[in-house]
Amino acid sequence: MVAMLVAMLGVLGCSGDGKDSGGSTGGTDSTGGGTEVEPICEQPAEVSCQDEMILDLSLHDDKVSDGAVETAEDGADFVTTVDASGGGYDRYTQEPWVYIRFTETGAERVDIDDETAFESMDWDMSLRRFIVRLNGGSSGPSCVGAAPLIRQNYADISEVPDGIPYAVDAYYTEDCTIINDSSGLPGSPQVSMSGWWEYPGCVKTTMTPFLIQRADGKVLKLVVESYYGENQLECNENDSTREPGGFYILRWRFL
């Protein structure tokens, strides 16, 4: 699915040509601090198709998520847990999305409602159930983009490859028809990070690592290690699980 996703995305938001941090982590500074990079964008852009997105993705203008976001250090990595369960599979449409930003000291929750997020560059990633959006393109006014590195393992990525293209979310046509991903699930938008999962009968992690470029130009590597909290293995091995979903474990670090 990932290869198809890259081919289908087509819309390339921001290019890392010389603007990325280029692996210049500054010796022991594994969180990217101190590296000067050019910002990709500094002003919010108008988000199109808001009317449709509110319905398609069940956005809310009067609720702010209280889903827990916690970050711990694990060696040079951050490990961030995000409760994006939305109250369960039969309740999530009534719950707002969880918004987070990646900082030098870990990921933290941004407490804004879904419609305010249309105008905010304060967040980098938004999660609810199995959909992960980035703040750019169809999803938000910023220019956060992602690049899946489908042939690499997370641990082996030590620098940002030259000239890597970052794709912003692009899941609406010009006439605001939603573009679904290739999962076969109804209404699952073709976000730039779709490739972290597949659906053989449950949300199975692919362990595909992503490079994520923030609006300020800094790049981090990230892998979704789990969608079912500490119980991902049952799904990955059996293609089936009764574990509650939406409990992410994200491993990441700045490059």
Binding site: D56, D61, D90, T93, I131, P186, Y199, S240
Partner: protein, 473 residues
């Protein structure tokens, strides 16, 4: 508790051949035919997919597959009586599968991922025939009894087979909504039907034809409430007409045809539907609603307060609800945005339940409206409802206020500076020929709509005066 039921339009392997939900080589399979010969059930008596083997009736056969055959045939007979087409038979698509021409059920272990699905064997254009795969024992599912689960599954999933006789792959809100509606036709005590209808009442601001993204769009099932509303109003023939219309159209266009055949329109039905939805659950009162209103939850509200102020997108074929704790006195509605197409209503709460609307109105332009007609609205709790009762491509987004004159001030249209000081309005009565700031189509007891324009104009004149003289005043 219906779990992720869906119709699969792609041609599928039968469970004794393979596929996602299939028998295992270790399963020992048996078959059982229904009394009328309409249905054949294939089940396992030993192996990973073994069914519930209890034989309480001492027939020598497990009760579970017997009940499946019994209810499936009863459901098919009900569809025939209502006037629906029968599911496309295997003979019609040129094959006889499962060992007989009867409609086939296969009982396999879904492992909690789902509890049944209709899959297709073959199609002729948009019309398809197929078979049913169903959970083998309901262990770990939430049904009160096996028979409860069987009643739910047979009446829901077989309607997908009926739909496929008109058009396979109907839009999910129609496919799942009418299949859930079918549950209630077969079993008016269906707890699954009531539970799923609550999904619509939980999200009333969503257009009925726009279920959310995701693999389990409960909202799509919840549209059963609309189909039952139409059935209460026009009989089940309207759902038959809908399916007949699906033969040539799909989605809203098919509903257009069905409504026309029933001699009605969206504009006539929708405001009443969303009004009925206000009278459910804890809101049940003298307001007309469903005969089973007490089995449903109350509709989800956007806001509650002694005044209301909201910036809301009113989506087409949706409604938004509020509760107003009015302290008594004048009560106004105001918006500086164009509310064309929207309809609003104010319902009093009487003895803890919602009573019929005391005022319904529509503004054709930005403006303010005195809901008390220059009088006072008694203190009490009121339900305020806004709806956009027509098909449209976009929502209507307006900021509005409800309350006394002070409360609605932020929502008043700002007068053009060129207007200031030149009222020219003193001679205008309620039917004055000049352009009105807010045209009003109002439906209220005891007065003509135009009467409401007088206080409206007075209010706007006052605001213009302030603007003309500036803050120093």
């Amino acid at each position: 508790m219906l779990w992720l039921l869906h119709v699969t339009a792609a041609l599928a392997q039968r469970p004794d051949e393979g596929g996602l939900y299939a028998f295992d080589a270790e399963d020992q399979l048996r078959q059982l035919d229904g009394p009328a010969g309409l249905v054949r059930v294939t089940y396992s008596i030993e192996g990973p997919n073994v069914t519930d083997l209890d034989d309480d009736d001492g027939s020598g056969l497990p009760d579970f597959p017997e009940l499946v055959a019994f209810h499936a045939e009863a459901v098919l007979e009900m569809y025939a009586e209502l006037g629906f087409r029968a599911p496309i038979s295997e003979e019609e698509i040129g094959e006889v599968l499962g060992g007989s021409p009867a409609f086939d059920f296969y009982l396999v272990d879904f492992g909690g991922n789902a509890d049944g699905q209709f899959s297709t064997d073959g199609c002729d254009g948009q019309v398809c025939g197929g078979f049913m795969v169903m959970e083998n024992d309901f262990q770990g599912y939430g049904y009160a009894t096996d028979e409860d689960g069987i009643r739910t599954l047979t009446s829901h999933e077989l309607f997908h087979a009926v739909q496929a006789a008109y058009r396979a792959g109907q839009e999910s809100w129609i496919a799942e909504g009418t299949a859930t509606w079918s549950e209630y036709q077969y079993d008016p005590g269906s707890t699954d039907f009531f539970r799923l209808c609550d999904a619509l009442l939980d999200d009333p601001g969503r257009s009925i034809d726009q279920p959310p993204a995701g693999p389990v769009p409960a909202f799509a099932y919840g549209t059963a409430l609309f189909w039952q509303f139409l059935t209460e109003r026009h009989g089940p023939a309207v759902i038959v007409a809908l399916q007949e219309a699906e033969d040539g159209a799909d989605g809203l266009e098919a509903v257009d045809v069905a409504l026309a055949q029933a001699g009605t329109t969206w504009e006539a039905e929708w405001p009443l539907f969303v009004s009925w939805n206000l009278g459910t659950g804890g809101n049940q009162g003298s307001l007309e609603s469903y005969p089973f209103a007490n089995r449903l939850q109350s509709v989800t509200e956007e806001q509650r307060g002694d005044t209301l102020s909201d910036d809301n997108r009113f989506y087409p074929l949706a409604a938004t609800y509020y509760t107003l704790d009015h302290p008594g006195g004048p009560l106004w509605f105001a918006t500086a945005d164009d509310p064309s197409g929207l309809q609003f209503s104010l319902f009093p709460e009487v003895d803890g339940g919602v009573a019929p609307a005391i005022r319904s109105w529509a503004l054709e332009a930005p403006g303010a409206l005195d809901l008390g007609e220059a009088g006072e609205i008694p203190a009490g709790t009121y339900k305020f409802m806004g709806t956009y009762p027509q098909r449209a491509d976009q929502s209507v987004k307006i900021a509005f206020c409800v309350g006394d004159e002070a409360a609605i001030a932020p929502c008043l249209p700002v007068a053009d500076s060129g207007d200031s000081g030149d009222s020219g309005e003193s001679g205008e009565g309620p039917t004055g020929g000049k352009e009105k700031p807010g045209g009003c189509g109002c439906d209220h007891p005891g007065g003509a709509p135009g009467l409401l324009a007088l206080p409206l104009l007075l209010l706007l004149r006052r605001r213009r005066s302030v603007t003309a003289h500036g803050p120093a005043q």
